[in-house]
Amino acid sequence: MRIAIDTGGTFTDCVCLAAGQLRVLKLFSTPVDPSLAVMDALQQLGAGKGLNVRHGTTVGTNTMLERTGARVAFVTTAGFEDTIAIGRQTRARLYDWFAPVPVCLAPRELRFGVPERVSAEGEILSSPTDEELAALVDAVRASGAESVAISLLFSFANPETEQRVEAALRDLGIPVCASHRILPEFREYERASTTVVNAYLAPRMQSYLLNLEESIAEQYIGGRMEVMQSSGGIVPARLAVREPVRTVLSGPAGGVVGACQMARWAGFDRIIGFDMGGTSTDVFLADASAGGAERTRESVIAGVPIGVPMLDIHTAGAGGGSIARFDAGGMLRVGPESAGAEPGPICFGRGEKPTVTDANFLLGRLDSESFLGGNVHLDRERTEQMMGEQKGSLESAEEFAAGILRVVETQMEKAIRVISVERGHDPRDFTLVAFGGSGPLHACALARALRIPRVLVPDMPGALSAVGILLANVVRDYSRTVMLPGDAIESLAQDFGETKTFAELERQGEEEFAAEGLRGVPQRTLDVRYRHQGYELNVDFDPQVPGKSIEVFHALHLQRYGFCDAERPVEIVNLRLRMTAAGDHFAPRRSDLVPGDGRAAFYGERGVFFDGRFRPTRFYRREKLVPGDRIPGPAMITEYTAATLLPPGSSAQVDGFGNLVIAVDEEVRA
């Protein structure tokens, strides 16, 4: 039995495939020990022997955002201790005289130098004596560091000294991360930064994932755990704990995979994903005809560069649980502080600070009867009173609530602009796929602001990340830097048993997959550039026609950069092999559409606040809607995990898979 579990800040979502149907369970997260909710969920879903748990976790993301990682010691070549703080010596905002002072994950007292040097050619010019290494170990021990990141100059060219330092520091019994293993590439700052993030996350991620795996193995015979990586592929937990930097965006990556899959079934290739959860919102752009969701090797998470490949996800620091307040200048602000699961919003009965969720509740946009199956009591009196007390100079609690929603929606809009408009994509060409607990509630307002003509609320929008994790492929990437001239390309296809060919990488990949009883399919690519350039283009490699890669490179260079030169010498920098084992096959059934008005799902009319006043709004239960039903706004479609709000002027149709496809009109201006 395979169960996917996505732990978010507020909810833990679980999905399993049983008898050809997806089964969903939603629990409150247990932030102090997220594994409590996971174990609880497994029990409730009736997990048994041979359990395979697939996990998406926000432990990494939150550790970065909240800056609650380990005390990291940074060890580098003597004379370069500060390079981790200096970075690339640029300012992030060109025209801002009041930019905050960046805080380095490895503070000054935790930076250590080793007397050593490797040349650009990989020659060891000097190396530390055993006494010097012992002194380093003592100094790191005395510093109270909880983990260590080692990144020596040119260790990617010759890792020998770095390995000696690594071996010496292992005696400390704390996680030790070496840059030549994490990211064996040139550019010392980006390599070091990636390694430091790894060390920063290591203690927390390791204890969390290993304890959880142990609990699973104890409780369920033969039980094992896999983890979603930021790149969108699944790896076994024991591999994930070695490189936690690769799971920083674990949960959000599940959402990307799930949204792309659902949208594709529904017939939409170009999507903007909008995943609004309790503490933050993730947005991304994917075009299935152009290779799906975009990946990047130049991510910046919480201000820190990370060089391992990740899905290109943009995070905005506001979600349903975000707290609203008035700043010193009297401006209304929402987030980044969140009420989380504890104490939660005011309406849940414990929180005392107004949140986005409270604003929605007050304006009739949260239905206490249907919210989480009616199992959570929402306290209207308490909310009205506390919102009223904190409304500042605004006239009414309702006005305060409407203001909170306007501010938070503007923040979401800005986030979507960054990944669409600012990258040259016109939102009008895309479908907005809304999910997460709060996504469908805000989707139509956002679509209007951005002139996105269509919103897709997939079946089970509150558990889409979990669905993505459940259906994701097992993926592992292998790479090797070869630095070969372009005319050596024929040799890459041959099997010399040499390190500079694909054959060896493939053997490694096949063996690792076989060890887990999987059959991997190889995909081979090359990173190619003109000699002396600083960046490469990635092109497919076919062993049957090796030379074709170079032709494709020239053509791609012309298309991408405006010129190419077939006479110019070409360099093959890296071989890349991606091994993929397909996830569970699942094809949802498409039902015939029967035109209807959803009257069987109708359960009442309530007042919902639109454009300054409460308007009578029809409420429907989503699970009772059937394919072909068409519902005009204003309406609310409620379900266990979320609620979809249809403003006046929009209308939703249930498609053959149970998705809501909403046509959004352009905003009518007064």
Binding site: I86, R88, F98, G424, F563
Partner: protein
């Protein structure tokens, strides 16, 4: 604010779209260039102009380039009747350029059926050598003829075809022709990327709508600046600051400004009367640089996402004395005007503004780009090399926040060359790169610290320094202390003999000598 039928949303989307074109040109340039100064340090800028040469979008690149690029486009338009498929090239500071290492290309974009360019796209990149007396072309020259090859606006591409003869003429005059050829090719490619994206945009909007959007965008920028200026106190605010010297003599040179703020009209008048006449050394700035510094300061007074367009300059009137250090005339040498004097012009503008709006103006930042150029022959390959790098210093403290340490400020934002890229490309070994602790000025809020960088040469080579803030330190504000001045030293191979180097000099350095640069700290803010 007036809401037009096209609406603020439409204008915002258009603004983002043209801005992303400029950014995309920059990415193409960086990803295809050969020299570390362009591919690693990103010492380049890209911008988009309308058919009349007004800038409508600038990438978030180098402020000193950006504000002065409109003059390049204007010079190209004036000198050549550009036809479809042409690309103009230029670097002459007296015909649209700023200093010779910055080579600019301008491509006219013709819409289908159009007979005149509807847009121009342009990019400027700093080349690590353009010939002249000093390797790296950034030395203490005494007239522009010693600073390298001068290129007036000419065509480098005609009707889509590279003008090989023109390219050969340029390449014959530089020390590292192969690298230059690759970088120039990358600039041509980046122009074409910009052209393609503009054509796609035009297809979507149609020519007439585009013009309406451009007009609205420029008006919007202007409205933002005027609204900002309306919040300022009326009056005249004067300030002066000094350059240590021009590299030929040690005589300090003055830059003086008188700022007239007119909140009623939402306007600002800037007059540099009283600034030093142009000098024999290379710290002369052409007027384009002075305008660039004004543009930068105005842009910084606005909210973070305000568009950087020609509209920003509309509320500004600028007067510069002809033949002065802020408006140089031929044949003055200008290499340092772009990189050093430009920073001092910003400093003096801030000093004046600090009297008007004290809480919003930071103390002086390092005020020098600490330019280092080294040229010679790489013993590993037998090929000539030229290296150029600027080292960041401390940022001035702000009201409420310390200054940032070791960060590029004001007119530059180039990255450092990764040590692992630098040693691969050049016969050097970096010995140290770290903060210069304690160099920031004390105060209620501390100035950022400068940096220390030590480079060992692995071959005999020619080294040139072009730095400032040795005598006149980065000043503190509101009682904050000044930052430490900059310094540079050479340690002879195998000895402990340190020789201090003047701020501006060119020396022969031997293999195994170690060069040490210490950059200035920023000024403090408020009494501690």
């Amino acid at each position: 604010m007036i809401l037009h039928a096209s609406g603020p949303v439409e204008v915002t989307i258009f603004q983002c779209a043209v801005h992303s074109i400029a950014e995309e040109m920059g990415a193409a340039l960086r990803r295809t260039a050969l020299s570390p100064n362009i591919k690693e340090r990103r010492d380049y800028s890209c911008a988009v102009f309308d058919g009349s040469g007004k800038v409508i979008a600038m990438g978030d690149h180098m402020p000193v380039h950006l504000g002065s690029m409109p003059m390049s486009v204007a010079a190209a338009i004036a000198a050549i009747e550009l036809a479809p498929g042409d690309i103009a090239i230029l670097n002459d500071p007296y015909a649209g350029g700023t200093h010779l290492p910055d080579i600019t290309m301008v491509l006219p974009v013709f819409l289908p059926g159009g007979s005149a360019p509807a847009f121009y796209v342009s990019n400027r990149a700093h080349h690590a050598d353009v010939g002249g007396r000093f390797a790296g072309s950034m030395g203490p020259a005494e007239e522009i003829f010693q600073e390298g090859i001068r290129i007036p606006p000419v065509r480098i591409v005609r009707g889509g075809k590279l003008d090989r003869e023109m390219l050969d003429l340029i390449l014959l005059n530089v020390r590292t022709p192969r690298e230059r050829e690759g970088d120039l090719q990358a600039q041509i490619g980046a122009c074409r990327v910009g052209e393609q994206r503009i054509l796609q945009l035009a297809e979507k909007y149609g020519a007439r709508r585009l013009q309406a959007l451009i007009d609205e965008l420029l008006d919007y920028s202007e409205r933002l600046v005027r609204a900002e200026l309306r919040t300022m106190p009326a009056g005249e605010f004067s300030a002066e600051d000094w350059l240590d010297g021009d590299g030929v003599t040690g005589i300090p040179r003055k830059i003086a400004v008188r700022l007239h703020l007119d909140p009623e009209a939402g306007a600002m008048h800037v007059d540099f009367a009283g600034s030093s006449p142009q000098v024999a050394g290379s710290v002369n700035a052409v007027r384009a640089i002075t305008l660039s510094a004004c543009f930068y300061v105005l842009r910084c007074l606005l909210a973070e996402d305000a568009p950087a367009t020609e509209g920003i300059l509309r509320p500004l009137t600028l007067e510069t004395p002809e033949g002065s250090i802020v408006d140089a005339r031929p044949p003055a040498a200008v290499a340092g005007g772009n990189v050093e004097t430009s920073q001092r012009i910003v400093d003096v503008l801030l000093r004046a503004l600090a009297q008007a709006i004290p809480d919003r103006i930071p103390a002086a930042s390092s005020g020098t780009m600490s330019n280092l150029t080294i040229g010679g022959v790489d013993p590993r390959t037998g090929e000539p090399f030229t290296y150029y790098e600027t080292t960041a210093g401390g940022m001035g403290a702000r009201s409420g926040i310390d200054g940032i340490s070791g960060v590029q400020t004001h007119m530059t934002n180039s990255l450092n060359t990764p040590i692992e890229a630098l040693e691969y490309a050049y016969p050097f070994r970096v010995r140290r790169y770290g903060y210069r602790y304690g160099s920031g000025g004390d105060g209620e809020f501390r100035g950022g610290d400068g940096l220390i960088r030590e480079i060992e040469l692995l071959t005999n080579a020619r080294m040139t320094l072009l730095t400032e803030r040795r005598k006149f330190r980065p000043w503190g504000l509101q009682g904050g202390k000044d930052g430490e001045p900059g310094a540079a030293w050479v340690t002879k191979a195998g000895t402990t003999v340190h020789t201090e180097l003047p701020g501006k000099c060119s020396r022969q350095i031997s293999a195994s000598d170690i060069l040490r640069i210490e950059t200035p700290g920023g000024g403090g803010w408020g009494k501690s």
